[in-house]
Symmetry: C2
Subunit: 382 residues, 2 copies
């Protein structure tokens, strides 16, 4: 194990996103082709001489390339996994070179529906290809090529990010040595798809959606996006965590006999929806929920996940959280089972955490200690 | 036990709704007053000479007074609890006189937001009072007065209907001898309220809502109501039941890389939403979800449900379903605990059923046998 110097974990500090342009066409699983595209990414730490210490952190629904640190002009702009990644943190940037990238189809700088299509001179809008986890992983592999990373020491993610880590072991088994798969399922359940579908219907039936080409109308389907986020948010938290945090607490002294905010939970949800609808692109929301729905590596192998993972050579850390009802531990165990069928090297932990699906983003001591210990092992083999 | 004649259970047959007009003002818990109102109701079976065999069946969110039988002009118009109530059925109309009533604020004939306010000559719309479970029970008691029912042999319901049965034991302890409380909670959790709030926000932010006075604009907030129903529907079914019924089954041979229907579950949800939005009134949806949120008998007693139920004299049958994640068995046990604290006579059953919350409406053999046996006991004491 690498010696620890005893200093407190700290932030990677001020960071800056970078952009790479790609001109080799990207062929999507749907058959659609993007002739050229940009990827926005950030890196933390230093790539070693052997180029063997790179870690890719894949984002889930509403995050992007800004994984750790902050932007100099906004000290509050902490990266979404800043508690996990940094000097002395579980993924130690004194040891690893960590890469975050906004996926294709995103709305934070990488080419997506709100980007200008060079062919038309207008935003892609409804013409942007429906993107899949496989497509994202392909684009990430090209980014790795450009960064001179032949093989990642680890690819990691939670939720949809974890699906990307899993897909790496299938699409590029020789380019990933460890997969960290947190709060994941090998495919969505009918209920998971149902929640996504209601969110999408909220967006596409918003009169301001204009079939996805709202940019030209100078509007955004804010009402729909707001509802989509409210629905999503309910599924990220456990019933218990919500009860603990909000209970039936009222804003006023007593119920007001109206349909405006009475309960704190209502205020919280509205606030989350409002905030989200101001910065997120509705078309990207559609694309990302669809990528979730479509992810199903076993489908091409007669619904046999073990066969789907037959090519995987990586070591695995699989983590689930007891109170996660979106992707319950039983779903993670499906992945573990399939990996064990293939005699893969798998560590699996079910963390007793009250926070629900969002636990993968939170600073839970046992969870972080586990990831830290795992990455100590990764570093020994770097 | 009353002798059984061995004939198969059958439907009560063709039924006809009736209407009673009330001119004594109804004072709501909010302080609002309705000077006059109509209640639409149906009855099945015969009130005995002692007027001691009456059973009130209370409806939940999307049902009404049409509990059993069918309308002569539409053989498919089966009542919502027809499998439970009828000759030879668990609640045997050869023995009991069963009453169903559309609650005040409803949209199936009883006075509600879409009714004409005699003062303005226009639909009540946004001016209709916010109604509570207590208010409904008060109105039901007046209906009982008019029907000559001093005391119900039983008041029964599932979900929100069960909350009415529970409230009867608090508001009118001398007028209810048995309470049948199925798939219930003593109050909503934060998550329960959250789902209701998203549904309400879908309705009130629909541009066709017009602050609740859409009737005058010749439109209805159909988009919002449709989303509300889709969200609700997810919470009525268990994850397992949805997986069993729909799984990841596709409409076409393969995924189509679009945001239209790919999965059967999407088609099902859209269909449910479309259907509902054609017959249900959006203002009634707001009122009913708010009544659910506000129901909390313990609140006036320092959050002590046992104290809230101190006056209850009824016998109780409490039933929950293992796969109900909307009102899980643990929520029903809170009710049972409070009743036992008061030394009430309680039978409690947790039915191992896969269907989720909707199980209370389904024809589960163990559940129906239980209700049948309980009502045999009720009849012995009629």
């Amino acid at each position: 194990m690498a010696p620890r110097d005893g200093t407190e974990p700290r932030s990677v500090g001020a960071v800056r996103p970078q952009t790479l342009s790609f001109t080799e066409p990207l062929r999507f699983r749907s058959g659609a082709v993007l002739d050229s595209y940009d990827l926005v990414y950030e890196t933390y730490g230093t790539l070693n001489a052997a180029r063997s210490n790179a870690v890719l952190a894949c984002h889930a629904l509403n995050a992007a390339h800004h994984v750790a640190g902050y932007y100099a002009d906004d000290p509050d702009s902490l990266g979404w996994w800043d508690n996990m990644i940094g000097p002395g943190k579980p993924v130690d940037t004194e040891k690893f070179f960590v890469v975050g990238v906004n996926n294709v189809g995103g709305c934070f700088g990488s080419t997506g529906p709100k980007s200008i299509d060079p062919k038309s001179g207008k935003p892609y809008g409804s013409s942007f290809p429906v993107v899949t986890v496989e497509d994202w992983v392909d684009a990430q592999a090209r980014l790795a090529d450009r960064l001179g990373i032949a093989s990642f020491a680890a690819v990691m993610g939670g939720s949809l990010g974890a699906m990307q880590a899993l897909q790496w072991t299938i699409s590029y088994p020789d380019r990933i040595r460890n997969a960290i798969v947190v709060a994941a399922a090998p495919k969505l359940s009918a209920q998971n798809i149902a929640f996504n579908e209601v969110a999408r219907q909220a967006i596409t039936t918003d009169p301001d959606f204009h079939g996805g080409d709202y940019y030209e109308h100078g509007v955004v389907p804010r009402r729909g996006l707001r509802l989509a986020r409210m629905i999503g948010h309910i599924t990220y938290l456990s019933d218990d965590a919500m009860m603990e945090k909000f209970g039936r607490a009222l804003r006023a002294d007593s119920i007001q006999f109206h349909f405006d905010v009475d309960f704190e939970i209502e205020s919280y949800l509205r606030h989350q929806g409002d905030k989200f609808s101001e910065y997120f692109d509705a078309n990207t929301y559609l694309l990302i929920t669809r990528a979730l729905d479509y992810f199903d590596p076993a489908a091409a192998h007669g619904d046999d996940l073990s066969r789907a993972l037959a090519a995987a050579r990586a070591r695995f850390l699989v983590v689930s959280f007891t109170s996660d009802w979106r992707f319950a531990p039983s779903r993670a165990r499906e992945i573990v089972k399939a990996l064990l069928d293939n005699r893969c090297d798998v560590s699996y932990a079910e963390i007793d955490a009250p926070h629900g699906h969002d636990a993968f983003l939170l600073d839970d001591a046992r969870y972080h200690a586990l990831v830290r210990a795992y990455f100590d092992g990764v570093f020994e083999r770097v």
